[in-house]
Subunit: 247 residues, 2 copies
DNA sequence: GTGGCGATCAGAACATCGTTCGTGACAGGT
DNA sequence: ACCTGTCACGAACGATGTTCTGATCGCCAC
């Protein structure tokens, strides 16, 4: 009948040393709870009220520890950035390392659905973000990329990765949740392309398969490879190294 | 006392031929009004209530002509896509043409602040979008890009351009509106980078200028050039053509 | 000319949201 | 033992998108 986890402590059993009876409610606890909601139900379900409810309190209580929802999101973003593994620079594999870092970053961002949108709103300056940027720049420098090219590259790279993650979350939001739904949606697009008048759209109708083929991961990787190969075209040749950029 | 624009027509002066006394309220009129609000005050100010208010009616009236806000946004997006100029394929200049097309698309999207976010949510299939994709694919085909590469490329390209426009609108939303604000913000970031401990962030602190230099347009163009040069590395050499992709 | 019908309009309401106001309770210093 | 200031939180404010329910209007058949 009674739930073991819910009953309040008996009044005669006052905790000694004046431990607060009220739940101590800290910024960290709020972020914890928000992360749990985000991961389980997505950004749409993450409201201040929802977090407060989960903590069995009112919405106003949160504002003592967090300025507003935007600040809460920023705190969450830096925590997520801490999940990113940073590669150890290997001069001979810098292109693969960048591509793999991009793939992994995308994996991490989509694991917390919708938050990528908030990550686009600011230049990431938290400690974890700095650590991550430092690592990527090290990989590029080891690869012989000139500084002026490398600096902007990490900016463009993370913009691209975040955008793809955000796009995924938007599609998710629009009902295309499972891999099956996505396939079905793509199939609709394919048949629509096939139904177009070839006279007016000669190119599209002649390359439908090239347009709708491939899943999200393949497209993501392709874009990363475009960026990296583009960057490689700015790298002066080192003796004894073949970058394979003319293919 | 009485305002000339507000007084109703006198009852005895009934318009002939049964011209509707009520404003005829059509889908096109709704999109017109929504575009006006969007351009003047941004996506945040664009609510169904605001559109209805502008049309001197209630919010519910709009739903007879538009399924919901998402559909209204889609209609606006296709109309905006119609503003995009399409290049005439020139095989010798395809790389510049793609870069310029990207720059111009970004200009158009940022002219309607915030709407890029909605454009990311769906594969664009309206008539204007198809016309635009057809044109870009023609440029790529003229340049000798293999179909499998070209198909995904337009997808990645528009993702990148839309993401940059969306990012701009987010920064705009966060108060960094004028060119002056942006410069000030960048200056803050520069001094923050300079204040970092060089022991822990040797790479970042040694290339601050390369990180924070340049304005939005330069960065946008750089990313476009990365993508195009990356794509060029997949294009088989044509005799008598120098693509300049090495160094 | 007139009656009726279907499309169009719009007021009110519902369930949300982020955020703020004001009040209450508790802890620690004096 | 009182006082003070910080923290907690119910209630409320002004928004939002959308739906329900009538009311109203124009057109067409008769």
């Amino acid at each position: 009948m009674t739930e073991a986890t819910e009953i309040p402590p008996p009044p005669w059993r006052r905790p000694k040393k004046s431990t607060r009876q009220r739940r101590p409610l800290s910024q960290e606890l709020i972020v914890d709870t928000a992360m749990r909601i985000l991961d389980a139900e997505g950004l749409d379900a993450l409201s201040m009220r929802r977090v407060a409810l989960e903590l069995q309190t009112g919405p106003a209580s949160l504002y003592a520890h967090v300025a507003n929802k935007d600040e809460l999101l920023e705190l969450m973003i830096d925590r997520i950035t801490g999940e990113l593994d940073v590669p150890v620079p290997d001069p001979d594999r810098w292109q693969e390392q960048i591509v793999e870092a991009g793939m992994e970053a995308h994996r991490v961002w989509t694991r917390h659905p919708g938050i990528a949108r908030a990550a686009l709103a600011n230049i990431p300056l938290g400690p974890n973000s700095l650590r991550y940027s430092e690592a990527l720049l090290s990989v590029l420098r080891a690869g012989g990329v000139p500084d002026e090219r490398a600096g902007w590259f990490v900016d463009r790279l993370s913009l691209y990765v975040l955008a793809d993650a955000f796009e995924d979350s938007l599609h998710h939001e629009r009902g295309r949740r499972t891999e099956e739904d996505a396939r079905e949606y793509f199939e609709q697009v394919r048949t629509y392309f096939h139904s177009l008048p070839p006279g007016r759209f000669p190119v599209i109708t002649s390359m439908v398969d090239a347009l709708v083929g491939g899943d999200g991961d393949e497209r993501l990787r392709y874009g990363l490879e475009l960026l990296v190969r583009g960057l490689a075209s700015y790298v002066p040749d080192r003796p004894g190294t073949s970058t394979g950029q003319a293919g």
